[in-house]
Chain length 193, copies 4
DNA sequence: TATGAATGAGCATTCATTCAT
DNA sequence: AATGAATGAATGCTCATTCAT
């Protein structure tokens, strides 16, 4: 009889611990020992589930990307208007703030890691596709461009708010993003078919 | 017999070497020895000019911030129209790309360093002030908000283009930023006084 | 319901896998997991058959020693002359080369392990006895000494040929060993009783 | 003014400490920390003088090889007869025993390291040349072969005596080696020109 | 009997920092 | 002012061993 372990569940626990730690102390201080501690395992156990530290970090980025992707496509509960929908992803609460901190922490590494860049690329492509799909624009190429514009706007506000939370309280984030997105959504080409 | 040394010049050389190295190999691999080598000094010499490694990194961020600030306020030579002006700062060439890479690399650390965050804060405040000053808006609070919106738009495009240069060639950067800024600059409130 | 397992057969399989791996990658890289893999079992299973890793290595040395002993006493098929007989044990083919590599690999450890030294001692004593028995010398003490001389000669050629196979091709091994052993076997005292 | 350090002297000290430790505890337990301790430095200091641990071990083998080479070519003080000369290199005292232990310890690794094998090759070539040069044989190819025979004999006795010192006291080493070498040196072809 | 998950000590290595010169 | 040797703590990683199943 073998010990029953949910491999994926274990990997998720470790990657989750890595995310929490990166948000806590920064990616530079997110070393394997405290990650293991936070996950309730030992460093040796991590070796069972990940090839090396980079694999742990990749899994963490993947996980945080999925969280942000979910937020960006599902929006939050009460949102009705379309422009406001993308507002739900902004770092306006502890949960999304943590995700943004980690997402940004990896940005600085993406230039030097093929693996990381691939993850970013896939997420950006997926989000662009999802955002474009929701636009009432028939020209697909044009739709992708508008989607890219929307994503850039969200990223810009999110970046500022993550780096300088004091200068960018939630209301300001929403107001500035709305100012950027309103013209795009009120333009004729995006009006309902 | 005292050796004549230009202290500030030495500090600039070391900070410049740090910037180049960070852009080259990433902030995580930018260690003191290669920085010293690139600057043409020894590690021991760095200790004369900087308290510790963090001080070197601070100076590097300060320097790269100044470069980006200059680009954002002066624009490039041939730019005439206002929306296009902010386009000149985007990572569309090797020089600005290097600056963005370094700027973003530090973003991930700003959350955990008071000193770094202060540098970011000062630059953002200065840029917001400079951008607001160029707007034809009499309400100063409103002007600062519009300026913040513009900065967020530039940051968003710059972030995307730095992380995924393949998906964001120069023309796309300009087109998306223009799409975001045009409505702002063509609105009544910003029309010339 | 008891699973029928041949204990000794299992031990032999594991020790054999250890020998093959040591010959392949060296004793320093012969770790338990790949040994287990090669033997078709798991690391945990090894614990059932061996007290610890040292016990596995001991079994491997024992096994390789037995192989070399067999070669040294039986000689190979076609050998008729006495001097040539000891030639059959030399590392002149893949099989004996593997045995020598492993035998030598353990030599470096014998100084620090009582168990290993005991194994070496037993084999050397047995071989000395066997070789002495084949000599036509009536003085038993003298016979043992001559046997030791013969063994040293074989060991010397085998050592050189194992460490530097390029400089010691099979013919050279045979020629040099013959040069050393001929005078011994042609001396009067070893002539047939 | 820079700190004055004799680079080579430091390297020798560290390599010497490695030799002593390998002889003491075996190559498998000769780790960097105790080597550093024995050399009176810290592990970090070793990094100044050697690229990595392998480089330290290489230097150690080189050093021990040089010691054995010196013994084999110079012989010891009182030796007059030629056959006895090669006797001086045998592991008959603490100093030479240590050298043999280390030399043998590396034998097991030479099959898996190009660098180590090169060191062995160079030493064996040099010794063969030196031994051949002392023979009164005009045919150079024949001289090298006889030299190889002599070296194999010495190696064989040294190997046995190092692995099983109890069975191979100094007198036995000398007697067995003499038995192997006497016929070679008394043969006509090697008699004084 | 057998599994393979988990442990944790030990390893080589890196690197900011210190300091005698 | 400047050197670069030296420190030593910290890191990622390996691996023999243990043990619940």
């Amino acid at each position: 009889m073998v010990k029953i372990v949910d491999h994926d569940e274990r990997r998720r626990a470790i990657a989750g611990a890595a995310i929490a730690l990166i948000a806590d102390v920064g990616i530079e201080h997110a070393t394997l020992r405290p990650i293991a501690e936070k996950a309730g395992v030992t460093t040796g156990a991590i070796a069972h589930y990940f090839k090396d530290k980079d694999a742990v970090l990749e899994a963490a980025l993947q996980m945080v990307g999925a969280r942000l992707f979910a937020l960006s496509t599902n929006g939050a509960e009460g949102s009705k208007g379309r422009p406001l929908k993308y507002v739900d992803i902004l770092p306006t609460n502890d949960v999304s703030r943590m995700a943004w901190k980690v997402w940004l922490a990896f940005c600085g590494h993406a230039s030097y890691s093929v693996r990381l860049r691939e993850i970013y690329k896939r997420f950006y492509t997926d989000i662009e596709t999802a955002v474009a799909a929701e636009l009432k624009i028939t020209d697909r190429a044009r739709a992708r461009d508008v989607a890219a514009t929307i994503i850039a706007a969200v990223d810009g506000v999110g970046l500022c708010a993550t780096v300088l939370p004091d200068m960018w309280p939630p209301e300001r984030q929403v107001a500035r993003l709305t100012e950027l997105l309103k013209p795009i959504f009120s333009s004729a080409e995006t009006s309902p078919k």
